[in-house]
């Protein structure tokens, strides 16, 4: 295992905190976001958003294109920083730790907060097995037994094991689109994150593959905190516990999914979910 410590603290200031503090109680939210604003150059993408994202639950983020939902998702594991000239105000606490503290290494954040993208993107030079294990291997894990266990566990959790267990050496690109997306989920799960961020994970898939991924998301709910961005309101209402509605960079409404879809408190939410705009 050597240098890899999946549950390592995100900061270098981790030494004084005891293990008891870092293991979350279910009631504590995973993320506490306070007055968050994000700019790309001159353009403000997120406007003063405050939200608490519950742990071990599925939170859906909906809203029309360009409303900042992807940006919001990406700032939860600091992926938005890859775009040059971004600026952030406000703060995000992840189990009480400031995600944007000066001592925090983004790579360590991303090991705890994994991500699945819109377009499935298995690495083209790697086999199925190599794709799943790449996160561990490139973080220094060499123990063959440990890797094998993690390989099977991750593929089982992403409901792909039965379909590929005899083809682990085949290229990751050789399987179908839906399988590739589940392979990407397995790859994200292999580094044992606590949170899985999903950025429209089904928008490039057919209905059958979509149904499989949705079923998988519901199964993962017990072990992981999941935040999913989706264009598809039926999908949000099918899979999520909580739903947040974003509109032009602002958080308009956040609440239990059933309540938000049946009795929205805000006029804009109602207009959007009934299809009057968006």
């Amino acid at each position: 295992m050597s240098s890899f410590e999946p549950n390592a603290h995100i900061g270098t200031m981790s030494s004084p905190t005891s293990p008891a503090e870092s293991s979350p109680s279910p009631a504590e939210p995973a993320f506490k976001v306070n007055n968050l604003s994000i700019w790309y150059g001159e353009k403000q993408a997120i406007k003063n958003v405050s939200i608490e994202i519950p742990a071990k639950a599925i939170t859906a983020i909906i809203g029309p294109s360009g409303c900042g939902k992807s940006t919001f998702l990406r700032c939860l594991n600091r992926m938005h920083e890859l775009v040059p000239r971004t600026r952030l105000e406000g703060d995000i606490h992840f189990y009480g730790e400031n995600l944007y503290g000066p001592a925090v290494d983004p790579a360590v954040v991303r090991r705890r907060v994994g991500m699945v993208f819109q377009k499935s993107n298995p690495f083209p030079t790697m086999s199925i097995e190599e794709n799943v294990l790449v996160g561990l291997r490139l973080n220094g894990v060499r123990d063959r037994r440990f890797l094998n266990e993690r390989l099977e566990q991750s593929l089982r959790r992403s409901a792909l094991w039965e379909e590929v267990k005899h083809d682990l050496k085949k290229p990751g690109m050789s399987i179908s689109g839906g399988q590739q997306q589940r392979l990407c989920i397995a790859r994200a799960l292999a580094v044992e994150p606590e949170v899985l961020l999903m950025d429209e994970p089904c928008s490039a898939l057919d209905p059958i593959a979509t149904a499989k991924i949705e079923e998988l998301i519901r199964e993962l709910r017990d072990k992981y905190t999941i935040v999913i961005v989706t264009h598809n309101m039926q999908q949000a209402s099918r899979v999520s516990d909580k739903t947040a509605f974003f509109y032009v960079g602002e958080l308009i409404e956040f609440g239990d999914t059933t309540q938000l879809f049946n009795r929205p408190a805000e006029r804009q939410t109602e207009d959007y979910i009934t299809g009057r705009f968006g």
Partner: protein, 287 residues
């Protein structure tokens, strides 16, 4: 009346079309013919002097028949090796900087400089290395020749590396970084690995380009009629040997110069074939 005039127009159009495509076809022939001519002429003039001795023997002293260019063939390979030690690491790392780091303004400057360097006449490199290395150590040397060729490789490899790295879709970088993999490991193990065939192609093209260079070697590697035992001493190279044999007054040396040119061209031809095979597979696999 109407009918026949439109028929006339039709004929006229067809004639123009035939003329244009004929012109294009002739131009295409003109493109191919120099290569065909060079190959044909080299084969006629050089093939007769190609024998086992050519590849295994040292040049014969003046007045003696026979001999070969073994030292020049090995010398060229040694020089290419030395040049690679300079050109490949610097070129690749420079390309990585251009594609993965670097701000837009710095990159604009770097690309401009690299493109200018690509256009610098090759003899300039020879002069520069002569001034910097040969004069200082007071000796022509294999190192100096390798350095001159290596400096020529840098901008070539830098630009091709940059281009193939930029072809790698951003989704792979994001996927890797999102796994908590560091930036450097992402670049080396994901991005460069994905683009590895393209990078190798760039290296091969640069090697093919410099393998036949004579001017940078004239006053760096200098040439040598014997085996080079020490890289701090002058070393033979095929293009140099061809040059000195071609300007000599002896018929036997002329024939050997033709043979040397044939070997050089065949070598470069093989490198280019290799590139073709590699790029065909790459386009089939990537994207």
């Amino acid at each position: 009346m109407n009918r026949s005039s439109s028929d006339n127009q039709h004929h006229w159009r067809k004639l123009k079309s035939a003329f244009a495509s004929g012109l294009a076809f002739t131009s295409a022939l003109l493109v191919i013919s120099p290569l065909a001519l060079v190959f044909f002429y080299l084969l006629i003039s050089g093939a007769t002097s190609l024998n086992w001795a050519f590849f295994t023997h040292l040049p014969a002293p003046v007045g003696e028949k026979g001999g070969g260019m073994a030292n020049a063939i090995v010398g060229t390979l040694e020089l290419l090796g030395l040049a690679s030690m300079v050109g490949i690491p610097v070129g690749i790392l420079g390309g990585v900087y251009l594609a993965e780091y670097g701000s837009a303004r710095i990159n604009w400057g770097l690309r401009f400089v690299a493109d200018v360097l690509n256009g610098v006449p090759s003899i300039t490199w020879g002069v520069v290395v002569y001034g910097l290395v040969v004069l200082r150590f007071k000796s022509f040397s294999a190192y100096a020749g390798g350095l001159a060729l290596g400096l020529m490789m840098i901008p070539l490899i830098m630009r091709t590396t940059e281009e193939v790295l930029l072809l790698v879709p951003n989704g792979y970088r994001e996927a890797s970084l999102a796994l908590g993999i560091s930036r450097w490991r992402t670049i080396v193990n994901i991005v460069m690995k994905t683009a590895s065939k393209g990078i190798v192609t760039g290296i091969l093209l640069a090697l093919a380009r410099i393998a036949g260079e004579t001017a940078p070697l004239l006053f760096t590697a200098f040439g040598n009629h014997f085996w080079n035992r020490n890289l701090t001493e002058p070393i033979a190279a095929l293009p140099l040997q061809i040059f000195s044999y071609a300007i000599s007054p002896y018929d036997d040396w002329h024939r050997q110069a033709w043979a040397g040119a044939l070997v050089l061209v065949v070598g470069i031809f093989i490198i280019n074939l290799l590139v073709r095979v590699l790029t065909r597979e790459r386009t089939a696999r990537l994207i």
